[in-house]
Symmetry: C2
Subunit: 314 residues, 2 copies
């Protein structure tokens, strides 16, 4: 499976830590020390999960090496749905105006991007598509509570779009060598750790320490496993794009794996936790740095719990 | 792909048409004439999308011809999520207590069951699983508005569970010969026809006539297409399980295809529109009637728009 084009969108509104100092008494130092976050982007009136995804697609279309009409599948990943019936995938299909192709929206919390890419891989394996558009869009601020002193300051909004093919299309394609995903709903606080109940208070992180600990354990374990399976070690990783949940989690995974800090792709400082979109946005933001042959690793962990890794070669 | 076990769950609370007569002045005759619905089942306090799915699984487990620990994938279909982070798939993984298997929740509106089964087919094709549990659970009453005179009386709640394998396990397995799914977000009122915006008023059907018309057109077209592809005609269908949206839609599709009415599997009279669960429940309720060699056809249409068909052999 190959990636031709990655693009992203960030809403224009910037929310600095000082907003949460005024609201909840949490200082800039306190937030930065615990999370690495300085500011985050957020949607404004008229923006939502769908509009953000469409903006990410618009940013990618000029760079697509084939007509968008060749797309044979839409997979949309989000845990912050704007509409669960006329879903994100349908909004995307409507925008690209390609009739009668499979369109499905999914959530596996902050692991959703990898699940979305893996579902596309499944359609390729069945021979039901050979080109796909996978979008990831999370509008956390639509469901989070700014007065929540535990987690209200973590959340940002953003989206990314991946144009994929079963076979290589250009020399610049990024090859996806393998995707691993799994639920971890049998360990720790699992289905209670992070929740987003639309009818029962929205987005909450009831067991932040348990999430933090399991994120570190699982992201390291699945990273080592996917590397080993392909004959690599952590020292071979050119760039590492972990789920952008908390800078301390990213740093700890990096240190445990002894990957140098300059290989980390991080945007949490200025975007906050953009959910399942975060590491997709990081890949899009840094694509110009990748050289042919670079080994790229993505690792995710999210509510549910859920986790996964993706190994790529530029 | 083969189905070993199908099971379902219906909540105990019965809501008759007289409830909507009192509330909105809609008479029993008026509702029955336009929809075929006499009564519907609804969740009560403490029940939700997750609890319903787990009850459906409990009903199936005693009939499963292998240990549940052999399940290698959970796919959960719902457009009425209880939790979009600790999703339905995670709740199911937690219940069956099988660690480190892919778990993903998805929505393609009322087509979600077929998309869920197709995603499982993709994991089988990739060799990433050989047994799967696909659940479908819709708790419409959590998002619908009983005071909505246009559609409030349509909605019921329910769930079904499908235990599947890549290869045949028993002589009683139902063979899935093919699944077709697609978005139809480029025709008619598409992304405006039916909507469920958790933060913007819940479940609404703004363009009921457009939905009705397109449901009839697409369910017939995709049914004829999937039959023809396998060398069958409508006359070969032993049982037809359409999406249970409206008895008039089911009857019109049936008449246009010239399939005798006694081959229709219908539960809308006593369950209402149970969303993506409806035709799964119908298959479960009628499985005892299927004889070896019977040709079973499922066809769906839903918001987005979205549609699909599944051809099975008992």
């Amino acid at each position: 499976m190959y990636i031709q084009t990655i693009s992203h969108y960030l809403p224009g509104k910037v929310v600095p830590n000082s907003y949460f100092t005024e609201l909840n008494g949490l200082t800039d130092d306190w937030i930065r020390e615990r999370t690495g976050i300085r500011e985050r982007r957020r949607t404004e009136a008229g923006e939502n999960t769908h509009t953000m995804a469409i903006e990410a697609i618009k940013a990618g279309l000029p760079h697509l090496p084939y007509p968008v009409s060749e797309i044979g599948l839409v997979v949309a990943a989000t845990y912050t749905p704007y509409d669960t019936v006329s879903t994100l995938a349908h909004a995307v299909q409507n925008f690209i105006d390609v009739a009668d192709i499979p369109a499905v929206s999914l959530s596996s919390a902050c692991s959703s991007l990898l699940n979305g890419l893996e579902v596309a891989e499944g359609y390729f394996a069945m021979g039901k598509a050979d080109k796909a558009l996978v979008v990831v869009s999370d509008n956390n601020s639509a469901y989070s509570d700014d007065h929540d002193k535990v987690a209200g300051h973590l959340w940002g909004d953003g989206s990314a779009a991946f144009f994929l093919s079963k076979e290589r299309v250009t020399d610049q394609d990024i090859e996806i060598q393998e995707i691993i995903t799994a639920g971890a709903a049998t360990v720790g606080r699992n289905i209670e750790g992070v929740t987003l109940r639309p009818n029962h208070g929205g987005l909450h992180m009831a067991y932040g320490k348990d999430v933090f600990m399991n994120a570190c354990v699982y992201m390291e374990e699945v990273s080592r496993r996917i590397l080993k399976k392909h004959g690599y070690g952590p020292e071979d990783v050119s760039y590492f794009a972990p789920h952008q949940a908390n800078y301390r989690i990213s740093r700890q995974v990096l240190r445990n794996m002894e990957v140098p800090e300059e290989r980390l792709l991080s945007n949490i400082e200025v975007l906050g936790n953009t959910g399942s979109a975060g590491c997709g946005i990081a890949l899009s933001q840094n694509r110009h740095r990748f050289q042919t042959g670079d080994l790229l690793l993505m690792a995710v962990f999210g509510g549910g719990y859920s986790y996964g890794a993706m190994l790529m070669k530029a």
